[in-house]
């Protein structure tokens, strides 16, 4: 488990991180969400040790993270970059070897990864000759080429076409399934919502919310329900403890004062005809995000 606790960081008079703390559990995909300038990149750089924090620490299984541990991280910086005038394959082998892989292992990993990311035929091409999407795939390969045990990815999906997103998703899920803690930031809230087990929301350098996706959705959900029934739903207005928000034929959205009141609506609806759906309306990540950040 990777634990970030009590991190403070300032640039000049500007406090960019205030008491930032959260954890990334083994085998979990943790989404790191925040507006531009909220402190995501700074936090990730501090985790990777490229920047030092004013105070606070990064712990791995309870012990402070060492340079040796960090070598086992796969990192994808927000600012993309590889050597433009170096062949894709050579570049990945070089990075793998800097991590300590033998030449043979570096070559094997490079070939496997390029194949999986659909770049197998471009191994001999200069990075600068690749399309932006392919450069992005190469960048992901650079983060994974040394078989990292931890992944920290800053905006891994920005600039990827939908097919590449799926490819990368699959690779990341494999890593998480193999037990790797995966932390990634993204602006694409729908993607994060679909992908993440855990969520961390940061705004203005402070962690505003964090926990499992389900917990957050429960935490921020209002007692709002949606029903879709055969019969006209106008009668719901008359039920005690119910405020109808929206109503159209057999569909209605309402707020209930208590669980009992909402269940009463369901029972009543069933007596009036078929009920196609009934459910607790839980907020989307985008809604939670808006609420938390304000």
């Amino acid at each position: 488990m990777l634990e970030i606790s009590g991190i403070n960081k300032h640039y000049g008079a500007h406090q960019v991180l205030t008491n930032v703390g959260f954890s990334v559990d083994d085998g979990r995909m943790t989404g790191f969400v925040g507006a531009n300038g909220a402190g995501k990149t700074t936090t990730m750089r501090i985790i990777l040790g490229v920047l030092s924090a004013d105070s606070g620490q990064v712990l791995l299984d309870g012990a402070p993270l060492t340079a040796g541990d960090r070598r086992r991280f796969g990192y994808m910086p927000e600012e993309r970059g590889l050597y433009p005038k170096m062949k894709v394959g050579e570049q990945l082998v070089y990075l793998a070897r800097l991590h300590g892989l033998t030449p043979a292992a570096a070559k094997r990993n490079t070939n496997d990864l390029l194949e999986r990311l659909g770049l197998g035929e471009r191994a001999g091409d200069m990075v600068e000759s690749l399309s932006l999407g392919n450069q992005q795939r190469a960048q992901i390969a650079a983060a994974l080429v040394h078989d990292p045990e931890f992944l920290v990815l800053d905006e891994p999906f920005s600039g990827l076409d939908p097919i590449a997103v799926e490819v990368v998703l699959t690779v990341l899920k494999e890593h998480a399934a193999a037990g790797a803690p995966v932390l990634f930031s993204s602006h694409q809230l729908d993607l994060v919502e679909r992908l993440c087990d855990d969520l961390v929301i940061i705004a203005a350098g402070e962690i505003r919310a964090n926990g499992t996706r389900e917990k957050l959705r429960d935490q921020f959900s209002t007692p709002r329900f949606e029903i879709h029934a055969e019969a006209d739903a106008g009668w719901i207005r008359g039920v005690d403890g119910i405020t109808v928000i929206d109503f159209d034929g057999g569909e209605a959205v309402f707020e209930a004062d208590s669980d009992a009141a909402s269940q009463a609506v369901l029972r009543e609806a069933l007596t009036r005809g078929a009920v196609h759906s009934f459910g607790h309306l839980r907020p989307s990540l985008a809604t939670i995000f808006k609420e938390v950040v304000q």
Binding site: G68, R71, R72, G81, P84, L98, A178, G179
Partner: protein, 383 residues
């Protein structure tokens, strides 16, 4: 893998335990340095600009040796027309070839049509018994050859002639200047390339920043030093082949010292180039950022050209770390350095190189992630 958990619930529970066994060992500091250095060398060898400029430098080196050999092997002999008894006067003089002419008119005709540079004709009235006839200006080589010079006694003879000293000083200065500037700006560009393309952030998370800097300095120093040694070998072979063994024996020790001083002097300059380049984020700004270092390279070059006959300036130059790689070899060639002087100067150079590397790596580390505007020295040093 647990087979009992259902696929749908697996995500919510902690998945398979993380494998904490490192599959590979971290490379040692020097292994990282060497990996970085090898990449630098490979990148240089693949660059057409580098190969072409190296080729040109080699051609210039060989060309100047061959030209020098031809000049010294064939001291030009001047043809003069001689009439009558004047032939005995000319015949005894070195550097003159006598072309017999029948009479004064024939000799003058030879002078006019350019066959000979001058004519020497008998003249009983003059002290030497001859008159020299030339076309439009006194032919100094002929006059000198026929003149009687008083005996000269030197109290403290210079071991080398003035013009040769100038050439040797120019040679050392030029080679140092060219190599340091070429490889210095190469290393500067390579630092900014990594910063501008942001690949540096991945590198920084992988190996220590000091290993990255050391690798770049070592890689480029190997290339610069290799180029210097190749030039030295080419010059030595060229001199041996063209029969300039005497000059080679005089120049040999100076060349060897030059190579030694250059090796350390370049490491120092390379660190400075890397450090100053890391303070900017775009290739366009490299020139401005590294110009103070470029001055440090240029000053010794111009100083040695203008002051190679000034023992005081040369003496100072041979101890100042930035100019010692040029100043000390020139003094060794002149024979004006005591045996311990190069060693002392080398010690000063070594100490300053270590100091500059420490300072440079501090600037480098503190500047690498500061994008955008130029990092000030204050920021770079404080971190």
């Amino acid at each position: 893998m647990s087979t009992e958990t259902e696929p749908g619930t697996r995500q919510a529970t902690p998945a398979a335990a993380r494998t904490t066994v490192a599959t590979h060992d971290a490379p040692s500091f020097w292994a990282s340095v060497w990996l970085v250095a090898s990449r630098e060398i490979a990148a240089r060898l693949r660059s057409k600009a580098f190969l072409i400029s190296t080729g040109i430098l080699f051609v210039i080196a060989i060309g100047s040796v061959v030209a020098g050999g031809l000049l010294s092997a064939n001291p030009s002999s001047t043809s003069v027309a001689v009439v009558g008894s004047a032939s005995s006067v000319v015949g005894e003089s070195a550097g003159l070839t006598a072309v017999p002419a029948d009479d004064l008119a024939a000799a003058e005709a030879l002078v006019r049509d350019g066959t000979v540079e001058a004519a020497v004709v008998p003249n009983g009235d003059s002290l030497l018994g001859v008159t020299v006839i030339a076309l439009d200006s006194p032919p100094m080589d002929v006059v000198n050859a026929l003149s009687v010079a008083p005996e000269v006694q030197l109290l403290d003879p210079a071991s080398q002639g003035g013009f040769l000293v100038y050439l040797v000083a120019l040679g050392f200065g030029l080679v140092f200047f060219m190599s340091a500037l070429t490889f210095g700006s190469t290393i500067a560009q390579s630092v900014v390339e990594e910063k501008q393309t942001r690949v540096v952030e991945i590198l920084m998370t992988t190996i220590p920043v000091r290993a990255l800097l050391a690798g770049k300095v070592v890689g480029n120093s190997i290339m610069a030093f290799g180029q210097i040694v190749a030039i030295a070998v080419l010059v030595a072979i060229g001199m041996a082949v063209t029969g300039q063994r005497v000059l080679l024996a005089d120049l040999g020790p100076a060349i060897i010292w030059f190579a030694v001083f250059f090796a350390f002097g370049f490491v120092m300059l390379a660190s400075l180039y890397a450090a100053t380049a890391s303070m900017v984020s775009r290739q366009e700004d490299v020139g401005t950022a590294t110009s103070p270092v470029a001055y440090l390279v240029m000053i010794p070059y111009f100083a040695v050209i203008f002051f190679n006959d000034n023992p005081l300036v040369l003496g100072i130059m041979s101890y100042v770390p930035f100019s010692a790689p040029v100043g000390m070899p020139v003094r060794i060639f002149l024979g004006s350095a005591e045996w311990w002087e190069p060693l002392l100067s080398l010690a000063i150079l070594l100490v300053s190189t270590v100091g500059v590397i420490l300072l440079g790596s501090r600037i480098y580390r503190n500047s690498l992630l500061r994008m955008g505007g130029r990092v000030t020295f204050k920021q770079a040093l404080r971190g």
